[in-house]
Subunit: 218 residues, 2 copies
Amino acid sequence: MIDPSKVMESITVKLNQNMIPDQIQRLEQQIEFMIEIDKLKQISRKTILTDRSREENSAEHSWHIAMAVCLFSEYAQDQEIDWYRVLKMLLVHDLVEIDAGDTYCYDHQGRKDQAQREEAAAQRIFKILPQNQSRSFRALWEEFENRETPESKYANALDRFQPFLQNYVTEGRVWRENNITRRQVMERMQPVFDGAPMLWNLVKLFIDDAVQKKYLAG
Amino acid sequence: MIDPSKVMESITVKLNQNMIPDQIQRLEQQIEFMIEIDKLKQISRKTILTDRSREENSAEHSWHIAMAVCLFSEYAQDQEIDWYRVLKMLLVHDLVEIDAGDTYCYDHQGRKDQAQREEAAAQRIFKILPQNQSRSFRALWEEFENRETPESKYANALDRFQPFLQNYVTEGRVWRENNITRRQVMERMQPVFDGAPMLWNLVKLFIDDAVQKKYLAG
């Protein structure tokens, strides 16, 4: 395979004819980033597809929750939010997993050094970009993680709701394999309450039903 | 697996306590759609991942080009576009492939009935949604297909540019397997010229280089 950082080398001379060096470098960095993030398609998550054929990956998950932003927009707690920023946030929110991997939300051991691993990943991955984009992409990731703005609250609600729904539809296979309890899921779903209260009502009903059907430990 | 259309049945009675019937039906349709579109993760495309391990699927592709909207925004021909609509368009643009499959862009036989197959798919898939969303999602898909608005022109540019780049980085493996020529790729990349002329300059240089390296037939 061509080393992503080498892709532009062979054509730099020709680009040079029409562009100033700063523009060339900028475009090279953007192309390198475009190729680098292809790796997110290889990051497996715990959640399985609804047909149970395999685990989903973080690129697919990111697409699915971005779709959910549009699908469930009427249930966002704050209707005056910047919807474009919500989408951008969800598109970039898992990029750090390219280096740090996906950490299962109920893996207490793994979560201990998660922040540290993801910070190192952010430093490497966003640094590929031109400086202004490096800053703005990183800021989106941090905004998502901090869950303080209305945009990030709604984004986090969907990031929790989609795998929850997938777990429910697959009869709680992953929950059962990991002995997950009602209490753990209730706690994990808190951001749904904060960002999309109407969906939280639904989550509670699904949880009751999941306990009754033994998808979840009571 | 739980039949998506049956997911809500067990909890309808309880939802009933707090909601009017129209709200319940609306939410049921949205949840059913959310589960239905999970199938896009199973639709294989011709393009392979940069590590050449497998073909990418349409959900991953949709995420990657949505990211590209943000990454290459400065090169959009029209800078006054509704960026949120560009993203929504790309998130939904391949949903019809759930029924119609991905049609390889150089498969002239497959392309003959592509429009017909995709129209049937659109009718079934968007019909799952509540009426107002059914109309707006379908309108986004049609806008993308028609390539008339500035938003759809930029969206189409990225839909062509991403697989092109992936083909280049994998030393044209898929091009070579299908005896694709320079002329075919130049024609296929026309929307890049229309929506993001600066990236078109890059595409031309990559094509020259690809011919020289025999990734593409001259």
